[in-house]
């Protein structure tokens, strides 16, 4: 049955269990069937590793090509793609790296990978139209605090206790080698936003209050709730300035008022 043939092949490619699949192959003079299946195994592994490599270039720079390839192979074997649309393949790679024993000493690595995935996600996100700050004026001023905002689907907010913004920026400019100025990964925590409301991907380090404000809104909080959360950290939080910036970025696609 075709199902068995395909299942056997999958076991060979992902688990290197060649026994059943090899039995299905017509013998060739001078060639072991396993060597033929191996060609397909290589195609799968190499092409999927290439997908990861292009999504996580900075991660690869940090750990080196050999290390990255080994990590990618293990990741693919344990988390093979479930869809032929490979722009969505790799979202679990940062979490995998966090548990990947050989990478454990690089504590900031999974966060750098999360930042790279956020970029990848934003780049391919479905296009959406942004609303204008002026649209909010239509709302009766007494109810404006109750406004909720829907975020453009490309947006990811990332917090890391490590200076992943500096790490990412420096590696992006070119290969960081022994002669480069050392990056103090514990210099600061990073509060970041990655988004693509228009054509270019925005990668921005936010101050902590703006981050908390956006995070609260994104989780479904109202304008007033988000402002309160920010004010608790910084009493001088400037709502107008923040709203103006984020609307100018085009971060929001809808607004709505929840029943009071």
């Amino acid at each position: 049955m075709l199902r068995n043939t395909q299942k056997d092949f999958k076991d060979a490619v992902l688990n290197k269990d060649f026994s059943s699949a090899a039995n299905d192959i017509k013998p060739k003079r001078d060639i072991d069937p396993i060597d033929l299946i191996q060609i397909h195994l290589n195609n799968s592994m190499k092409s999927l590793t290439k997908v990861l490599r292009s999504a996580f270039p900075v991660t690869e720079q940090i750990v080196g090509e050999q290390f990255f390839t080994a990590a990618a192979y293990k990741f693919i074997q344990e988390n093979p793609p479930q869809s032929g649309c490979l722009t969505y393949f790799g979202g679990d790679f940062p979490a995998f790296l966090a548990e990947f024993e050989p990478a454990k000493s690089l504590k900031y690595l999974p966060d750098v990978a999360r930042l790279e995935w956020a970029w990848q996600h934003a780049y391919h996100a479905v296009d959406e139209k942004a609303i204008d700050l002026k649209d909010l004026i239509k709302v009766d001023s007494a109810r404006q605090g109750n406004i909720h905002l829907k975020f453009n689907n490309s947006i990811t907010l990332i917090y890391s206790p490590y200076a992943i913004d500096t790490i990412w920026e420096r590696h992006k400019q070119g290969f960081v080698d022994e002669e480069s100025e050392e990056i103090d990964v514990e210099d600061h925590a990073a509060y970041m936003m990655v988004a693509r409301p228009r054509w270019e991907v925005i990668v921005r380090t936010l101050d902590v209050t703006s981050y908390v404000f956006l995070e609260k809104l994104k989780k479904g909080g109202s304008l007033i709730e988000a402002t309160d959360a920010a004010l608790q950290i910084e009493p001088r939080f400037n709502l107008q300035k923040n709203l103006a910036t984020f609307f100018a970025d085009g971060l929001f696609t809808h607004y709505y008022l929840k029943e009071e």
């Binding site: 001078d30 033929l36 793609p81 722009t87 391919h124």
Partner: protein, 295 residues
């Protein structure tokens, strides 16, 4: 009765030689608008939004487009992914490509995508499954598709149908057309000691809607044996040009496409390959050129 689908909803693909559109060439094509008869893209690269889709919108203004799928897995016994079909339909409706094609191979089983065009055993069961999936795809898109013959490195013990017969049967049963990959036929024939010319003779010309050309390479499997690999990483080999010429004599003028996917060269090198292919088309005797319409 077999449903009748419109062949194309958008700009028709000319009976001429085009090239596969690859990332490194996009900017140059947009800026300089070189003369290219038509372009083929891998459908899955445009399932999202953003720049890839916007650039394709710009490109389609000047060039006829063909969508070539590499990941739908027509040979899956589990049927086709509805999400994949929906994404494909979205871009087919938006871009109205002149041709939509896929492969007679499989990539997915039990929800796992192996990301390779894996060969099928050529059996009645596989034939039924592929035909069912092609029917599903054509019904979903509301149009005719083309299916490409794979390049194969191995054969299954339990195959009972020669590949050429399998392909013809698929097209006859589903009303789809064949995308004859001449390089794949050459590679498979060499690997399995078969006659590539015989393969082509078996294909009724009227079923052929497109021809693919690409480069291949040879790898040593061990000290005694080697295998041809369809890696799309070099110029079309001389033997393949010969087989292509023979194929055109059978089919008459059809759209021809040169693919180059690994070690992608500069655009001029790729266009030179398309120019060579075009010369073969132009050199067809008048009778062969007309053959297509008589068939």
């Amino acid at each position: 009765m077999m449903p009748h689908f419109p062949v194309s909803s958008g700009r028709d693909i000319p009976l001429a030689a085009g090239i596969g559109l690859r990332g490194p060439h996009k900017r140059e094509i947009l800026d300089e608008k070189p003369a290219i008869a038509w372009l083929e893209v891998h459908s899955e690269n445009y399932f999202g939004g953003g720049l890839p889709v916007r650039m394709l919108e710009e490109i389609r203004v000047d060039y006829p487009l063909s969508f070539h799928g590499v990941a739908l897995s027509l040979g899956s016994c589990d049927g086709l992914s509805t999400d994949h079909l929906k994404s494909l339909k979205t871009i087919v409706d938006r871009f109205e490509p002149g041709l939509v094609s896929e492969h007679v191979s499989w990539s997915e089983v039990h929800g796992t995508h192996l990301n390779d065009l894996l060969p099928l055993p050529y059996t009645q069961e596989a034939l039924d499954i592929v035909c069912r999936n092609i029917h599903h795809m054509q019904d979903f898109l509301g149009r005719q598709i083309l299916v490409e013959n794979p390049s194969t490195y191995l054969e299954y013990k339990h195959s009972t149908i020669p590949e050429a017969d399998f392909m013809v049967e698929v097209a006859t049963r589903t009303g789809c057309k064949l995308l004859l990959d001449v390089n794949n036929i050459f590679v498979s024939a060499q690997n399995h000691n078969l006659d590539a010319f015989d393969y082509i003779r078996k294909i009724p010309p009227a079923l052929v809607g497109e021809i693919h050309l690409a480069g291949h390479s040879e790898i040593k499997v061990n000290s005694r044996a080697s295998i041809l690999i369809d890696d799309h990483g070099s110029k079309v080999k001389n033997d393949v040009w010969g087989l292509f010429e023979f194929t055109l004599q059978q089919t008459g003028r059809v759209p021809v496409l040169v693919e180059w996917d690994t070690d992608v060269p500069d655009l001029q090198t790729l266009l030179a390959e398309a120019t060579t292919a075009q010369r073969y088309l132009d050199n067809l005797p008048a009778r062969a050129k007309e053959k297509r319409y008589a068939a």
